[in-house]
């Protein structure tokens, strides 16, 4: 196409833009992206689709099957399941995003410091992450919630901490290989401070590898959040949230299938959409740098 030859586009053809273009052309990324946008739109624009209050109870309307008035039926105390589904998505998606942000911030910082400075600091941080990794999957999050007490904020924090080891390890291994590069030596001989080298030179070069872990991690983090909410350790009633809704719906599994099928489908579609995007990113950056091992991060197969 002629438009592709315009100077502006040629100038913008940095490696980052190239990877982005490749991702945007990927069929599964397109599907995942559209699906995710639909989910985000429906949950954040909830008032456009429903005039009801997600927490308004109406015992006389309890356990009504899906109809025109209640597209996803009603729950055990007569709340509209569709309204709760829409509002519930907000929290479920947010838990995933905030959880992974906490994990990435702490883990990347630790990995940068530990990989760059080495020595006893590195040994200590590595040992500490090994210890954190000794707690199987969700158990670490459970232990943290045992300390902080149940609640949605604590659940996000617990998920974040459970992600720290994977981010720390990946960042560290990437720093170890970058540290010896000539351009880092050049920066150092020009008098750049350690902080400047880490932030301006090493971090941008590790970001590609980390990107895959971050994207796939959002999916795992949504799953983990829903799992904690399902166990009743996260969002407390009456807050609408997909995992918590499943927990409440479980009691009525024999009478009201709609209370378990819809919220679960929400979680499944959200995670699927992110995994599709993550796979495309992983394909796009593959070959150019190390791609993280999928088994490295927690909650993979929940």
């Amino acid at each position: 196409m002629i438009s592709e030859l315009s100077p502006a586009l040629i100038q913008s053809n940095s490696p980052g833009i190239r990877v982005l273009k490749q991702i945007l052309r990927n069929r599964s990324a397109q599907m995942g992206g559209i699906l995710l946008l639909i989910l985000i739109f429906f949950s954040y624009a909830a008032p456009l689709f429903t005039g009801k209050d997600p927490n308004k109870t109406e015992p006389s309307l309890a356990l009504k099957p899906p109809s025109l008035e209640f597209p996803m039926g009603t729950d055990g105390i007569g709340r509209d399941n569709f309204t709760r589904f829409l509002y519930g998505g907000r929290l479920s998606l947010r838990v995933g995003l905030i959880g992974i942000t906490i994990g990435a911030l702490i883990g990347i910082t630790l990995g940068l410091i530990s990989g760059y400075f080495g020595g006893w600091l590195d040994s200590f941080v590595s040992w500490f992450t090994d210890v954190l990794m000794a707690f199987p999957d969700i158990l670490l999050a459970l232990a943290i919630i045992a300390i902080l007490g149940p609640g949605i904020t604590n659940a996000m924090l617990a998920i974040g901490i459970a992600f720290v080891p994977s981010f720390m390890r990946l960042t560290r291994s990437s720093v170890l290989s970058l540290r010896e590069m000539t351009y880092i030596e050049a920066a150092r001989s020009l008098g750049s401070s350690d902080a400047r080298i880490l932030i301006r030179h090493i971090l941008p070069n590790s970001i590609r590898t980390l990107l895959v872990l971050i994207t796939l991690g959002i999916g795992s983090s949504i799953l983990a959040g829903a799992a904690l909410n399902f166990l009743g350790l996260g969002a407390q009633p009456p807050t609408p949230e997909w995992g918590a809704m499943l927990n409440a719906g479980m009691k009525f599994v024999r009478q009201a299938w709609w209370l378990t099928v819809f919220p679960g489908a929400g979680i499944f579609l959200a995670v699927l959409s992110i995994n599709l995007i993550g796979d495309a990113i992983s394909d796009a950056v593959a070959g150019t740098s190390i791609t993280p091992d999928k088994k490295q991060h927690p909650f993979t197969a929940q």
């Binding site: 000794a134 459970l142 045992a146 300390i147 009743g232 299938w257 929940q302």
Partner: protein, 308 residues
């Protein structure tokens, strides 16, 4: 080899030490005073609080407390529940067989379903069957365990009435749904691994040699290809114990089954800290031991590593 063994075991001991420190700290990391967290808003006499502090051993310096905790734990004493006053180790020992039965049946299901599907997909590489297995596998990785469990209950228990939806026992019928719930996402991973590993092995020269010397295809696949393709799967089984032990928490809660996962969740609700500490310590220790054993077995099984 001996060098490796010593180093590997030493690392595990260091990690276990860290685990014990972390688990010990649980009770001290609770915001505010832990006795207040346990007693909640109920009005209690200062004597009662003092008694609880003494029971938890909170009056000594931290290092004394930790030393006592470690010494007792090494002798199998994990303290006493502050809710039902039963020894923690006894409760865990009672719940363990149920979790073990669940994890093992889930693993068996995952390996057989995933193994067969992965093997067939590799042998029919590029056909519609291969595509189908891989598609199922991607979905299997995105499905939340608890949702799939509910769908299985809806299908097998509510619609077909074949299996109970609440299952506490260890008979095959009672174990089937919980084990399937825990095992299916695992089967998705196994299928991918076996397929990839099998495709890799099938392209090797010794397979061409085996075929060239006229061995029946069945023998080529079973004796030469499959045996080598299963090596990576062995490591995987060890790693997946983490998932099985963690996933048991959800599956046990869902099917109202006995087990240490459910014990952990209930103890968190009850603020029964000694019980939570005990369950977490035991589970993490089992996991570290399994990982160490897996690493060692892997080195023994794989001559390429052994000879280095």
């Amino acid at each position: 080899m001996v060098n490796y063994l010593v180093r590997r075991i030493f690392t595990s001991i260091l990690v276990l030490f860290g685990v014990s420190v972390l688990v010990f700290s649980v009770i001290h990391l609770v915001p505010g005073d832990v006795t207040m967290a346990i007693l909640g808003r109920q009005k209690v006499s200062p004597e009662k609080v003092a008694e609880l502090r003494a029971q938890l051993g909170l009056n000594d310096p931290l290092y004394v407390q930790y030393g006592r905790y470690l010494n007792k734990a090494l002798h199998g004493d994990l303290g006493v529940s502050i809710r039902n006053y039963l020894p923690v180790s006894k409760s865990i020992a009672e719940q363990m067989p149920s979790t073990f039965a669940l994890a093992m049946s889930a693993l068996a299901l995952a390996l057989s379903i995933g193994g067969i599907l992965g093997l067939l997909a590799a042998l029919r590489h590029g056909t519609w069957f291969d595509t189908l297995v891989m598609g199922l596998s991607v979905s299997g990785l995105s499905i939340p365990t608890f949702w799939m469990g509910l769908l299985l209950i809806l299908l097998f228990s509510v619609k077909l009435g074949l299996f109970p939806s609440i299952s506490n026992g260890s008979s095959p019928a009672e174990l089937f749904l919980p084990a399937l719930t825990l095992g299916l996402p695992e089967a998705a991973v196994v299928a991918r691994m076996v397929r990839a590993s099998m495709l890799d092995v099938l392209s090797k020269e010794y397979i061409i040699t085996a075929r060239a010397k006229g061995l029946p295809e069945r023998l080529v696949i079973l004796k030469h290809a499959l045996r080598n393709a299963l090596i990576p799967v062995v490591t995987f089984v060890g790693l997946q114990m983490a998932y099985l032990l963690g996933g048991a928490t959800i599956v046990e809660t869902m099917f109202a089954r006995q087990g240490i996962g459910r014990l952990a969740v209930q103890s968190i609700f009850n603020r029964d800290y000694p019980m939570v500490q005990g369950v977490v310590l035991v589970t993490a220790t089992i996991y570290v031991l399994i990982n160490t054993l897996t690493d060692i077995t892997y080195v023994f099984l794989n001559p390429k590593i052994r000879l280095k």
